[in-house]
Symmetry: C2
Subunit: 343 residues, 2 copies
DNA sequence: ATGAAAGCGCTAACAT
DNA sequence: ATGTTAGCGCTTTCAT
């Protein structure tokens, strides 16, 4: 019983079993042409020595890893965590592992992810682009399969799956207007950002709905912030403290909405009586909140399906096909933070 | 401008620049002893050919990947998503990437994670063990650094960081008792499970607190379930439908508590007036809920610190040290789903 | 059914 | 400052 002192290689096993490394390799990979008795001997040696295959070597040889990477801005955002779970389910059915990493929504983080992937650690990459600019992304040379998700309009070089941010935001705002809100705060709007960023697109939907309804917007109701719970909380608190009146809230994400709800409660405002609230993402917890959160469902399953389909296609095909641009429709889910529509 | 037809290797670059591969390697890795003019030439060739380093080869050679794996039961559980984020912050400071994968809380998934790691795709692995049994885990031969987290008492072969489940649950239950609850439902208790599983440990704390207070428990108040929102919801609904009275709820996780709160609201029960509720995990959203959720904080930062410390130690040390067992203390955070303690 | 040789793309060690 | 040699551990030929 030899203790595996440091690293046991195939050669060690081969020597111990009195065969060639090739035969060991054949046994390990379940290839057919190995005698039953030889196989036994090899297996015994493997157990005895505690042999473990070296994937790095295998990958170098095979040129593939069986791993798909998912790079998201932040691991703890429910939207991405839930997307990751959906993707994991789907890829698993195709015998692929999925691993999740984060980019911190930074240019560098996003570039790193592509680099890591194209450097052959992943057979394919799903990249949520936030900060990387289309031009930069376009320059990234990559032969390896990449599907870009996220809100920005990206260069046509890559397959791209996105939700319909503008229309979703339009629906959310239109619903608030239809149910009686007239001054709708936009939480998370980040003015001065790229024209194709998620906040800008959702702000655009907010503006369009106002225009369509002939209701004026007030720029003081646009509160810039990040996407954390405390941001929604602080945004509302700040509006109240500054005495900027509002009777509706469109939060750029459900997480922000949850923070906002808390601030409204602290201020003694009732929801939806005094203020109506709509979020975006329709994360799992939204329907369990009290009151349950009206939100925009960005088409989770359709999105996951499209991503998997496009990536597998790239991974399978010999010749690259034309890049696809896939927009998944969004749909408002009305719940208790908004009043019922008049019939 | 040659199009990178398939794979450009260092050798290609070397040829094109009229140097040896070694010089190319030196340039790429920023090693000092390269002439300025040569460096220029090499860099030019790299750009021109669109050369990209092959990490698989690098790793085979270097024997390390710079990647730490984190294997958790489910990607979308807030507790794990938030843990992942904390760990990512810390490892990043040490120049390590962290990637997250899921095990589905299954034996096989957990074994796969160890296999993947020890097969040298990760320099270290943080494994949340749920289903794998200590004996099985012990048999997994691995030279590669592993830190086990999770509730089960694991074999002493591995460094292990865990929260104080029993004491946390005891605090939660004691608080409910101290604030007047007498019939406390236990949501998520899974009877007949391993003696060291998380549900069992937390159930034990629940029982201990009752014993200490001289209050009898009622086994009908123990509702088995998984850890999703809908489980908490269904658990409460089921208790109510079956007419099993209760005036307190200890949910095994905050997520379950959120589901429970919704079911209580649906039944027209007030919290904390009619029923007090305590969760476990103190996830970020708990303090923003309305009413905010009283919960057990399992010591998030202390836990992350301990994990990182132990793993880095293993990754650094030549000789393996004695395995460490680290228990992080838990602490109740009283909020609005429970009544104030009588002064 | 099994083995020998070659080499995946890189880098550490040792020349020059 | 740059090149040569050797080899990481595996698998793909192509023998036998």
């Amino acid at each position: 019983m030899k203790k595996p002192s440091s690293v046991v290689t195939m050669a060690d096993v081969a020597r111990s079993a009195g065969v060639s490394t090739m035969t060991v390799s054949n046994v390990i990979n379940g290839r057919p042409r190995v005698g039953a008795e030889t196989r036994e001997r090899v297996l015994a040696a493997i157990t005895e020595l505690g042999y473990q295959i070296n994937l790095a070597a295998r990958h170098l040889r095979a040129g593939r890893t069986g791993v798909v990477g998912l790079a998201v801005p932040e691991l703890e955002r429910p939207y991405f965590a839930q997307l990751a779970a959906r993707l994991a389910d789907r890829f698993e059915r195709h015998g692929l592992r999925i691993v999740v990493e984060r980019t911190k929504a930074s240019r560098q983080g996003e570039l790193d992810a592509v680099a890591f992937s194209r450097l052959r650690m992943y057979d394919g990459l799903i990249l949520s682009v936030v900060d990387l600019d289309p031009a930069e992304l376009a320059q990234v040379g990559t032969e390896s399969p990449v599907v870009v998700i996220g809100e920005r309009v990206t260069p046509s070089r890559f397959d791209h799956v996105m939700m319909d941010n503008v229309d979703g935001a339009r629906q959310a705002t239109a619903h608030l207007l239809a149910t009686g809100s007239r001054r709708i705060a936009l939480l998370g709007g980040t003015p001065g950002t790229e024209a194709t960023s998620m906040p800008t697109l959702r702000a655009q939907g907010w503006a369009e709905a106002h225009a369509a309804a002939g209701v004026p917007t007030d720029s003081r109701l646009v509160v810039p912030s990040s996407f954390r719970l405390e941001d929604g909380y602080e945004d509302v608190k700040s509006l109240l403290e500054r005495g900027i009146g509002f009777d509706g809230v469109f939060a750029l994400t459900d997480v922000v909405a949850i923070g906002a709800l808390r601030a409204l409660a602290d201020a003694g405002l009732s929801v939806p009586g005094d203020v109506q609230v709509v979020g975006f993402d329709d994360v799992d917890e939204s329907r369990y909140l009290v009151p349950s959160l009206t939100s925009v469902n960005p088409g989770h399953d359709a999105m996951a399906d499209a991503i998997v389909d496009l990536l597998l296609r790239q991974m399978g095909d010999a010749q690259p096909t034309e890049p696809h641009e896939h927009v998944v429709p969004a749909r408002l889910v009305a719940r208790e933070t908004t009043r019922p529509l008049q019939a």
